[in-house]
Symmetry: C2
Subunit: 326 residues, 2 copies
DNA sequence: AAAATACGAGAGAACGTTTTCTCTAGCCTA
DNA sequence: TAGGCTAGAGAAAACGTTCTCTCGTATTTT
């Protein structure tokens, strides 16, 4: 039998309502307040959040659903979101879809049942089209991957421009046979591919985009095939994200190739270890803390102004030139 | 105004209790069950979890508190715990203390208010001594770091033996001047240091253990200092975890040294990128999936048998010999 | 065939809070 | 000084479920 607000009220010789008011920081006679505070301490009372949420009809909870927790980009964003949310008195329910649309749908349903205040979501490709049905229950802010028709607030990287930056960097280093590797599963991959193709075209170079599935073994197989034949091997690679990069590195290693001697490699996403591989990998660093902060802010904003038009915040990344560009 | 169980009951022409029974999968007349299922679908009903938890008095929720989400070991464990928990119909509340005892205490209080079923915790050094006060509210299973007096169920790596394995490996490769780098903040670091010192003593070699703080810049400074002077430089390093390893690599890189030519490096924790650095880093891989599974299992076990004696499960790691041992 | 038993359904209480409503006392204004 | 107003406290309803209790019907047992 745990201690309830009534027990505290009895000890403090006040009504439960008064205890509730003290806990909520509302106007209460100072003497009474003190009695209540003392009683809370004495009894070791802990409010029951389930009861509080049920009665007050707000959960002060936001959902965070990411597509792949193994991707350190999402880990970093999650860390930021959680920190900011807690600062503002919001709890975070965290979940991971593993790029699986069914899991995504399940977690969105769960968010409905939790009656969350709002959701920050990195949607799967399939999920993007189906978020509309949840919008009526809570606002959603998309991160990393935006809804194509602006159906949703979103905060994304300027993928096209960043891809172009990688192309420019490799071109400056004298590369012309630049191949791009992009994911099949996300709009982000698409945007990066488009940016790559435009930039290549602008330089009068032939673009060669390869679509790489999310699944690891398959990804490695495709990359190995691409690089196996020395005569047809590209001079430089642009890799769409940090997870895919690992498959690329594994293939390069297995073929006994060396970066940047045999092939130049650049990528999206920055991680601590990347300075130690291939003479230091030249990469696009995403502004993860900014993404987290903007996402939470937009979500809270949307709660206050439900019928404001949707916004799409596009953030620039930072190009880190290290040695792997050749 | 959202749809409640009474609305579903009205549509299905049954009592709310019956709807509840159908949802809980209890015995109900098939015809009625069908009516209820249809009504749920028709109304788009989503149960309110706050109400359910309040009334049923169990939350089906476990708390997972880790010390450092940037450490991929914890990310991996978290992923496993979440997966297993969801399989068993448990929700996971995830939080991260950043090795901060105050944050740890706050989150443990939060777990009380959430009325969680149990908690899986990677405690800070300070936290280990204070968990007793929470044990009365919910069982706790410690991971990675055990309570010294067996006050708690725990699942840990066989740190001593694994450290000895690294020593043996380096010794086989001809190293005698082997320095160990260990964290100051955790009992885990202590155990690894002890294992290292014993193994060195057994081989008749002088042990040289260096304590490295968790804070990154400071860690890097200390390691740089250790390696700067070529004449006093150790021939091989044993690093206590993957986060510290990054500081070590940075220092080695900054000094222009090469692994394993100038210095051999071995470490605890395995991550995908480690095969590409220093000719492939030789490391101890922790059985993360096993740790997650055992932790959840022990927690559920403890719920059934509250007064069973505490258990301490010690798991072996796997040594991955790659090139960095020299 | 009668009695005992088991099963399933509904009514209503209960979970632990916050909120609404009512009331009193004190204060300000006219 | 009387009347209206305001602030703060308590009583009781309400949040949306599940659980307990009761009762009727169907099934088994003797």
């Amino acid at each position: 039998m745990s201690i309830g607000i009534k027990d505290v009220a009895r000890v403090a010789a006040v009504s439960p309502a008064t205890v509730s008011r003290v806990l909520a920081g509302r106007a209460v006679d100072p003497a009474m307040r003190e009695r209540v505070v003392a009683a809370v301490r004495e009894t070791g009372y802990r409010p029951n959040l389930a009861a509080r949420r049920l009665r007050s009809r707000h959960t002060n909870t936001i959902g965070l659903i990411v597509a792949d927790i193994r991707n350190p980009f999402f880990t970093a964003v999650a860390r930021m979101v959680e920190g900011i949310a807690y600062e503002r008195g919001l709890r975070v329910i965290f979940s991971n879809t593993d790029e699986d649309a069914a899991k995504e749908a399940m977690y969105l349903h769960l968010m409905q049942e939790e009656r969350v205040t709002g959701v920050i979501l990195a949607p799967t490709r399939h999920g993007v089209d189906n978020i509309a049905q949840y919008q009526s229950d809570f606002p959603i802010v998309l991160i990393d991957r935006a809804a194509p028709d602006g159906a949703c607030d979103s905060v994304v990287l300027d993928n096209g421009a960043m891809a172009a930056k990688l192309v420019a960097h490799l071109h400056e280093r004298g590369h012309t046979r630049i191949t791009g590797l992009f994911g099949t599963a996300t709009v982000t991959g698409n945007e990066r591919r488009t940016g790559y193709e435009r930039a290549m075209a602008a330089l009068g170079l032939p673009a060669h985009a390869v679509l790489v599935p999310h699944e690891r073994a398959e990804a490695e197989r495709i990359v190995t095939e691409l690089l196996a034949d020395a005569s047809r091997r590209p001079g430089a690679l642009i890799v769409s994200n940090g997870v895919m990069l690992l498959s690329v590195l594994r293939a390069i290693d297995a073929l006994g190739l060396s970066i940047p001697r045999d092939i130049a490699v650049t990528s999206f996403d920055n991680e601590p270890w990347m300075e130690f591989v291939g003479g230091g990998l030249s990469v696009i660093e995403q502004p993860v803390e900014e993404i987290g902060r903007v996402a939470v802010t937009m979500l809270l904003d949307r709660l206050d102004h439900a019928d404001q038009v949707t916004r799409r915040v596009v953030l620039a990344g930072r190009f880190l030139a290290r040695g792997s560009g050749g």
